[in-house]
Symmetry: C2
Subunit: 821 residues, 2 copies
């Protein structure tokens, strides 16, 4: 079984493109992008084959047991013979399924065990392995990548460990047959590949040392990840842009197209070389009518499908979050699960497998089909509800799974949609690497099919009023539903393009676009996107999107949300001030002001720099030097008073004991010692110190000479609107920005305040949010005047200070004299 | 003829979507987007019908003359009879053409006159009308929109006058049948529509007053413009993003999709309501093989086609620029053309029409087909080179135009490509509203067809090695060629998507993508895009793209390109300084510093604000007040010396004469008076002034109280890389940025410097560009240290100043005392 893809691996490693581009030196970055492809492809294939392996194992078990059963129950055989005879040409899957029907009464428990054990073991292994190796690999990965692309550094997310955990965990999770997706984990894997390649390339120096370049590469990697799942280069790129970025560099667009096309090409060309296909076609080619793709009168049905999908998408996101919060908030459940971490995924898998057990409830929801098979059957261009002629179904044997002898196709479709809906939302919460796109896509297709079949049953001769009969094609509705529901869940419209590329048909572009747009409009006004919801659940530092239509964002100003008591240091401060300032505040950087009177912002200094300054001042070398100096001085003294009696060593001991006893004057240093990172040396090596020396050191003026200062931190004005602030923060990937008024620092806004202001949580400690007031404030002339007055006041202050300052200088005195005349 | 589309107009005005969205108050912006559609649609239709009208007129003229000829030349009739009999079922166009063949010898001059006069008159009218009403309407419009989206204000480009000129000019230009495009003018028209609607909506207040909102709307309008030409919503949006923006707000993406979809829907639904189509399909639906779209062995041919298209695209851009520069630089031509502005377009039109005259040279290049007809025939899925069975061509009669009895199809295709190539490049230079996308698209399709026909002739049984014969479809090559050449000329890859939506088939996605990517790679490394080239020709203030692979952008720093002597004003300056500073420099804003010693940047003030300050100080009210005061004072004096002898009136006259005589002390004001905008009042109304009073006024300290100050201008640091600077400039749409070092202003970088640095023109007056040095400078540790030293020096300066300043204050003296101990 596994031997089948060694051929592809060899072909991949021979990748002729790599050779071509290696020669062409300028394309070094593109080369990296290219080398991502084998990764993705390999895991894409691997996942598929593991899935097949699972199916194969089940089937083999079934076959063996079938033989056993045949030997044992010869008496029963006569009854099942005619059924078994019928399926000569049918695929192995169907035979297993039919056999299951036949042997229902005899051996159902063994079957159930085989059906359930396999996924439970795989999922438990996946969860355990991921947990042990790299817990960051759990879940979708898109939320993390989105946060990283936003500019936040999540170091653990892009390590080799995470890569291994993600790949192996995902393979097992997909192989289990649970309703889990592979799209977003693939994005994570591609990003991991990109990040690791960047690290590798940076060994050779050059452009890969550049941080922003690496982020550009990451965003291209996302496109590769998506496009390789559906063999959809354009849709993949667009989806990755929509789902991942707030602002997109058009410069990168070309690169994304290139990488995504090569990925899709390689993926599909392997199918040709593997003799699965004659030439490169779409992944799931459909055969819808081209000359008359749909009737204009069908458009309302598509619109309804879109709106319903929008509601469904919002419900899915909500349901998923509710499940997570239920588990989190219920203390009994939480405590229990914290103890037995692997129990939760095992239980969920057990539940889902039990329900989908084909001889049990699974028979009513085509549970024995894999996701891709379900999708293939749902996009079928036959109509099922006609109770059609048997020949129609021989050609696509999987469609049989939707036909139940007792229950009609509407019931199976409805059951499929409803059951898969909550199962996917539940399965998503398991701590394994998994996504949600693919299950949602399939659910959407099933829902669309349901609507399509209903339409076909309602209008058996089509809706066209002219002479020609154009029957309704439920497959088109399935395609529309898939695009609409997945678009609604992810808040993207490019799922439409994914559908076109997946099916290889674009003639039904308008229904798809209309449904996707309506689904997005509905879903976006009800819930955040799935990825934003996951970001909230994971509490990642992220800036929420400004919803559209909220004009109040233009009325809220920075002064309404900024923190007014900013931690700052001045140019003439002493080390004690540095020390005090380090103990408070949470921002990574501190403002450097000219003086506390002028409040003029000169730049910002990182916390680490200040710690370094302090360490330098209070650190070992200076202490030793001081002690040496004092020792010399005392020696000189002792030479005078007690010549030759003592050297410095005993005194050093004395000093040590002195410093270890708590003294009241040491208090300001105490909290610092609790924080190991503030000043390292005193705690690490209990150096001989004197209280007086330390105090003196702290009272010295800071020497900023060797300090890295960011001389141009981003500044806002107090009346910058929330909308503009959001734009600036997202464009530049800021963590915080200072608010100044004509050079004077008056406040600071960090991501946290912005996040809270957008989410509308008004009662924040230390933050003065007043949107209700802000919205009533007239933004017209009076506001401007008030503002001008403020500015004038500020200027006056500056001017007064200036006058004070200019007193020693005489050259402008005549002006002011003349003015006062 | 014109009555045909009144129906559509009525339907449009009833636009049911508008009603729906009007109810839904939140969608106000979407409503505006929506209302754009009727505009576009109307002009789209209008252009089409005008073209048809032109064809109709020609045909009518031909028919009348034909009748005349028939009456006159009964003897000749017998010879032409059998030819005329054959075309009963053929379209009117073909009849005209055949008639032309028949009557070649008798009346060729009259035919020629009819063929030539019509376009010459239309183009001349278009050029004249545009020139008179709004010269900004000339040309494509995309360069201007691109510049506006970049943040530069081009006021004249978005006025109602321009709108009218563009619409009427474009209609005439398209009607002339010259090889001109309508895509980019449509973008301009849609943007104009958006801007005018914004202006209209801002009458009602609300969000439309917001500048950034309007720019968002503009970028959506571009998508509407493109998508309405090809009925391609996705391709239109993507093309507009690629061609127009540097950074794209993903927030806007949804809006663009919405607007573009509604446009495409409305445009296509009109065809259905008009009974042209049964249902909504693609604009030019093709019928390529779906099950086996192409063979893998054809891929090298597609790659070659892509590379050749890339070269062709670069050549086209280059040729177009060369023609413009030839005309500009040749003084004789320029002088002649400046006198007779309308002569140039008339001459070009005459030349092009003469060459395309169907009975003349035009017969070898299918000149009688319109652009859309040519495209339709080129995308035909029949093979022409087989010299196929006559029945094949009856179905698509236009294809006949490519068959010449004496010359084979390869020659006509080659001639078409070569002739149209230079004709389009030449026609683009005419001063009429026109684009180049459509002609380039058609040329690309013809070139692709040529390659396809060659392939089909070379491999008559296809290239597939297995048993089945899959013949080569030259139509696929035409589609690939169209996408590749138009992509190469515009430097976009989304032309691929345009092709899919235009043809309604996506199964040949990989060949198209490969060719487009290769074409882009070749064209981008040779020439700028057509739109960037036009921007250069028009000398618009634009930031060129950073090409990829140029790592030197990371090594050039802001300090290498910044201007060091910045114009600034200080907080304690007098009005004379303001006055002086206004006379120099070109930037729109001036830096406001704390003082010229500290150089601390407090903010920036717009030039207009300073003019206002000066006007206030030297303006009429203050002069009058001064005169009144002085009159009162002198009256009091004169009451003492000459009681009742004179009042103020004669003295006022005397003052006037005084101020009008040039005095040496007035010199600094003189240039100001030449610039009418600096200080208005003194020139407008020659007010009675005294030299002394003015001098005193100018020596007064400036009161900035009522002045609008931007307190947080964007600041860079001296070692910001060129790459980062470019990113910041394009992200924030800056015109200039100040370079500061720990609060101290040390330089300024404007768009101009950046532009020059990127384009590599090193020898700029006043700009210290040294990329060669910069590239040799090691960016490692030594650079950082040097930089730290600089910073340290700066800090020392600040510190010294601070010490001086702190002399009057005593509270830190103890610290420094302790330090000096």
């Amino acid at each position: 079984m596994y031997g089948r893809y060694t051929q592809e691996l060899v072909l991949l490693s021979l990748n002729p493109f790599c050779v071509f581009f290696q020669m062409y030196g300028r394309y070094t970055q593109e080369l990296v992008l290219l080398s991502l492809n084998p990764f993705c492809m390999f895991f894409q294939m691997y996942g598929r084959y593991t899935q097949e392996l699972g199916a194969y194992a089940k089937e083999e078990a079934a076959r063996l047991r079938e033989e056993g059963v045949r030997r044992r129950s010869v008496t029963e055989r006569s009854r099942s013979l005619e059924l078994l005879e019928n399926d000569k040409g049918c695929c192995a899957k169907c035979r297993t399924q039919k056999w299951m029907y036949v042997n229902l009464e005899s051996n159902v428990f063994l079957q159930y065990l085989a059906w359930v054990t396999y996924p439970v073991v795989l999922i438990t292994f996946s969860a355990g392995f991921t947990q042990l190796l790299a817990p960051q690999a759990v879940g979708s990965g898109i939320p993390e990548i989105k946060t990283i692309l936003r500019g936040v550094v999540l170091k653990e997310c892009l390590t080799f460990k995470t890569f291994v955990a993600k790949v192996i965990g995902l393979t097992c999770a997909l192989g289990s047959g649970m309703p889990l997706g592979k799209e977003s984990p693939f994005v994570h894997i591609a990003s991991l590949g990109a990040a690791l390649l960047c690290k590798f390339m940076s060994l050779f120096g050059g452009i890969y040392e550049n941080e922003s370049r690496n982020i550009e590469l990451l965003s291209v990697a996302c496109a590769v990840g998506v496009s390789c799942v559906f063999a959809a280069p354009i849709g993949g790129l667009l989806f990755s842009i929509e789902a991942m970025s707030t602002f997109f560099t058009v410069r990168n667009y070309w690169r994304g197209f290139f990488a995504a096309t090569v990925t899709a090409f390689m993926y599909r060309v392997l199918a040709v070389w593997n003799r699965d296909e004659v030439t490169i076609t779409a992944l799931l080619p459909t055969n819808f009518r081209q000359d008359f793709p749909f009737d204009l009168q069908e458009l309302p049905a598509f619109a309804v499908l879109g709106i319903a999908s929008g509601l469904g998408g919002a419900l899915f996101v909500c349901l998923n979050r509710q499940i997570v919060q239920l588990i989190r908030n219920q203390k009994t459940i939480k405590k229990f699960l914290m103890k037995k971490r692997l129990l939760y995924p095992a239980l969920v898998t057990l539940l889902v497998s039990t329900i989908t057990f084909p001889p049990g409830f699974g028979q009513f929801m085509a549970a024995k089909l894999t996701q891709m098979e379900s999708l293939e059957t749902l996009l079928d261009n036959q109509t099922w509800s006609k109770q059609g002629i048997p020949e129609e179904f021989d050609s696509n044997s999987h469609s049989q799974a939707w036909k139940h002898p007792q229950v009609n196709v509407f019931v199976t479709l409805t059951l499929f949609v409803v059951m898969k809906f909550w199962m996917s939302a539940l399965a998503m919460t398991m701590p394994v690497p998994c996504g949600a796109f693919m299950p949602v896509f399939v659910i959407g297709a099933a829902f669309g099919r349901l609507v399509g079949e209903s339409m076909a049953a309602w209008f058996p001769d089509g809706v066209h009023s002219d002479g020609t009969i154009y029957p309704i094609e439920p497959g088109v509705y399935a395609a529309v539903g898939a695009a609409a529901l997945s678009g609604a869940v992810t808040h993207t419209v490019s799922t439409a393009v994914v559908v076109f590329e997946l099916t290889g048909q674009i003639s039904h572009i308008l229904p798809v676009m209309i449904a996707v747009i309506l689904a997005n409009a509905v879903a976006q006004s009800l819930q955040p996107s799935l990825y934003d919801s996951l970001i909230m659940i994971k509490k990642l530092p992220y800036l929420p999107e400004l919803g559209w239509g909220h004009h109040e964002y233009y009325n809220i100003r920075v002064e309404d949300i900024m923190i007014r008591d900013v931690m700052y240091i001045t140019l003439n401060c002493c080390y004690r001030d540095l020390h005090d300032v380090l103990l408070t505040g949470h921002l990574k950087t501190l403002a450097l002001l000219e003086s506390s009177e002028s409040m003029i912002l000169l730049g910002s200094i990182e916390r680490a720099q200040i710690q370094a300054l302090l360490s330098l001042q209070l650190g070992r070398p200076r202490r030793l030097k001081y002690l040496r100096d004092r020792a010399t001085a005392e020696k000189r003294l002792s030479v005078v008073s007690h010549p030759g009696s003592e050297d410095g060593s005993t005194m050093v001991n004395q000093e040590t004991s002195l410093s270890s006893t708590p003294t009241p004057s040491m208090k300001p240093l105490k909290p610092a010692l609790k924080r190991p990172s503030v000043v390292d040396c005193p705690t690490e090596i209990p150096m001989p110190t004197s209280k007086k020396w330390e105090e003196n050191q702290l009272d010295e003026q800071v020497n900023f000479d060797n300090c890295m200062i960011d001389p141009a931190p981003i500044q806002l004005v107090e009346n910058t609107s929330l909308h503009k602030t959001h734009t600036i923060f997202s464009l530049l990937g800021l963590d915080h920005a200072y608010v100044t008024s004509i050079g004077r620092l008056i406040g600071v806004v960090s991501l946290k305040e912005l996040q809270k202001a957008i989410e509308g949580s008004v009662a924040v400690k230390g933050v003065n949010v007043r949107p209700p007031l802000a919205s009533f404030r007239d933004s017209g002339t009076s506001g401007t005047i008030m503002n001008n007055e403020n500015k004038a006041r500020d200027l006056h202050k500056l001017w007064n200070r200036r006058k004070l300052m200019s007193l020693p200088q005489e050259h402008r005195a005549s002006d002011s004299d003349e003015k006062s005349k």
